[in-house]
């Protein structure tokens, strides 16, 4: 059963990722990006990282994608009906796809393929993350907070009218 779920999620994931690129209209690609993130959240769940799956859905799907859609509406981008995808760009993209794919494929050590990884049910992974976050990783946590602040100030300055 679990295998089936994995392949289904993987398929949705890759399909939507490709859809993001192929779709002519930006809105469609934004929505396919959302589906991709949800599929990813599913995979996280499969891997037992339920807290992260939840975070993924809330933060990513919720906030980031909304921001995207908002910007698309703001700039009322027309779909690029006219301009066909230039063969050169597509060719280059495909070449990179194949090249990197093969590169990664070879890079994975054979040991990773044994099935020794019985899935261990994580009791309360949220608490263990909390412990770590405010234990060993408190410094990075604060830094990221600061980063968010800086980003907000930056955005406000950037979007002032008379800049």
């Amino acid at each position: 059963m679990e295998g089936f779920l994995f392949w289904f999620a993987a398929l949705v994931l890759l399909g939507s990722a490709v859809a993001v690129i192929v779709n002519r209209s930006p809105v469609a690609s934004a929505l396919s990006l959302v589906t991709m993130i949800l599929a990813l959240a599913g995979l996280f769940g499969l891997l037992g990282a339920y807290f992260l799956a939840a975070v993924q859905v809330w933060v990513y799907a919720g906030a980031v994608m909304v921001l995207f859609l908002f910007i698309i509406m703001l700039l009322d981008l027309k779909a690029e009906e006219g301009t066909p995808l230039r063969p050169l760009g597509v060719g280059a993209g495909l070449l990179i796809l194949v090249l990197l794919g093969a590169g990664f494929w070879r890079a994975i050590p054979s040991s990773a393929w044994e099935a020794n990884s019985a899935r261990v049910a994580e009791a309360n992974d949220a608490t263990s993350i909390g412990h770590l976050l405010f234990g060993a990783y408190v410094l990075p946590f604060e830094a990221v907070g600061l980063l968010l602040l800086v980003a907000m100030v930056g955005v406000i300055v950037l979007s002032k009218k008379d800049v």
Partner: protein, 102 residues
Amino acid sequence: MGTPTLGHYLVLSGLLFAIGLAGVIVRRDLLIMYMCLEIMLNAANLSLVAFSRFSHQVRGQVLVFFVITVAAVEVAVGLALLVSLYRMKRTTKAEEITALKF
């Protein structure tokens, strides 16, 4: 089909990353390039979680947490830039914005 092993997840994340990168190269529109950037980031997250899962350490997941935050920051700033750029140049096509080229 057997239970998925670490290898499956890594291949998946590799493929996802490759698609993201290909997207950056194929599409000319800056916004779509941004989305592909997001895809690449998520691919990284996936491999992080897979490793933390198969090596039984939670630390990986903390890292993903940070990655997501940084991604959010990056999107915010990026889109702000995009907006001000759009206001100036009225286009989001990558070719036109080549002021740096001499």
